[in-house]
Symmetry: C2
Subunit: 260 residues, 2 copies
Amino acid sequence: MKQCSSLPVIVVGTGGVARSLVHSLKLNNIRIIGVITRGGREAEEYISEQGLAAISYGAKITDPCVCVLSVPDRLVAETAQKIALPEGSVMLHTAGSIDMSELKCSSINYGVLYPLQTLHKLKQVSFKDITVCIESNNSFTKSVLTELANTLSDNVVEISSSQRLMIHLAAVFACNFTNFMYSISENILRDSNLDFSLLHSLIKETTEKALHTSPSLSQTGPAVRNDLNTINKHLSLLADSEKHIYEILTEIIRDKYGKK
Amino acid sequence: MKQCSSLPVIVVGTGGVARSLVHSLKLNNIRIIGVITRGGREAEEYISEQGLAAISYGAKITDPCVCVLSVPDRLVAETAQKIALPEGSVMLHTAGSIDMSELKCSSINYGVLYPLQTLHKLKQVSFKDITVCIESNNSFTKSVLTELANTLSDNVVEISSSQRLMIHLAAVFACNFTNFMYSISENILRDSNLDFSLLHSLIKETTEKALHTSPSLSQTGPAVRNDLNTINKHLSLLADSEKHIYEILTEIIRDKYGKK
């Protein structure tokens, strides 16, 4: 079994990432000093359910710790500066799009622990199979962070801030936009009194192919075949925003595959 | 074990659907009379490799059979009319976007056997786990087709032409456009010297969620959070067509989720 990180952890926030982080820390017996929040009933209920200590922003932190900021990306820098950590501590954030340097005024030791996953309040998952991207400003942070990350996950990679931003951007396409395509699909079927589960085997196969071959090489569909009959038939069935999406994507796929 | 269909089968075409159909017919010991093609080296090689008879369009077909047209959607009607089937035969097509009625001049008995899957020449798969949508013009066709489809697949559903067209449209979003999102993602990472496999666990989880909950309810990302900082940062990193896609999808997601 992996060793636990030697420093205890403070978690800041109670959103999707924070909750899965708490879940993963507990699974690995890493001590959690407490959770810092701005309060609110939902956050307080969660902290109490978890048997954790609620820490206010003004509270004095006495023990060296790893403080992990899981707050909205735009709040990372200002939140970090509200928390005074004792010497020997490390300040981390978990945001995909925020440069590590935004923590430089908040601690001598700082870095990033970015779980590359879509995480929700309502589904706490272990970091074990999640790719965790880490970055650190000095060797002390690196050793603490590497130990912590390797305890939590089997897939830890060192990634610079600029690369992390590109990963985050790529993840928007591969996760958020992909999910939006599924939801359009679901709505089209629902409007025809058909169940989304009809597409389950197609969705599984599409994903399998993307994981095992290059998606650029395995593009199928009316756009890549330049099948104008089908494209026009489909367009006539769509209204407004979905039609616009279909047109744009079809045009760009046809351009890319040279069959326009 | 399921019974085999009582009529032997002629397959028309040697594309992705045709090849997986041949594979599935063989797996279930259904007799294949032969394959009708316009010829060409690749088609002939395939037919020979499979140990099948090549049948020309003009050839006289003597035995009652199920003739399955797996040709490009736009060629279904004209191809059907080139083939004269003996009495007691059934003409089927496998196209998502073509109305069953396009076969009405080609045979007394006609219908549709539409495998709801992305199929490639290079990967012959069994229809067993694929949803197969069937439609038939009379009770004889229905009994022959139902027996054949149930022999090939464990997921057979009766679907009208108009519903099938909506399924085909939904499949473009859930498969073709989704795959295109993956390929953009792959390109973004490649340009930063990063491997697409970094996103594998994210892609798996996104798919799992879509299969087990409603994608409309589980949308995440900067667009649904209306995180303008991140959106603008991402837009500044994209060029041309990818930027356009990002803008359009973000705008529509923000509209739909009411956070614009």
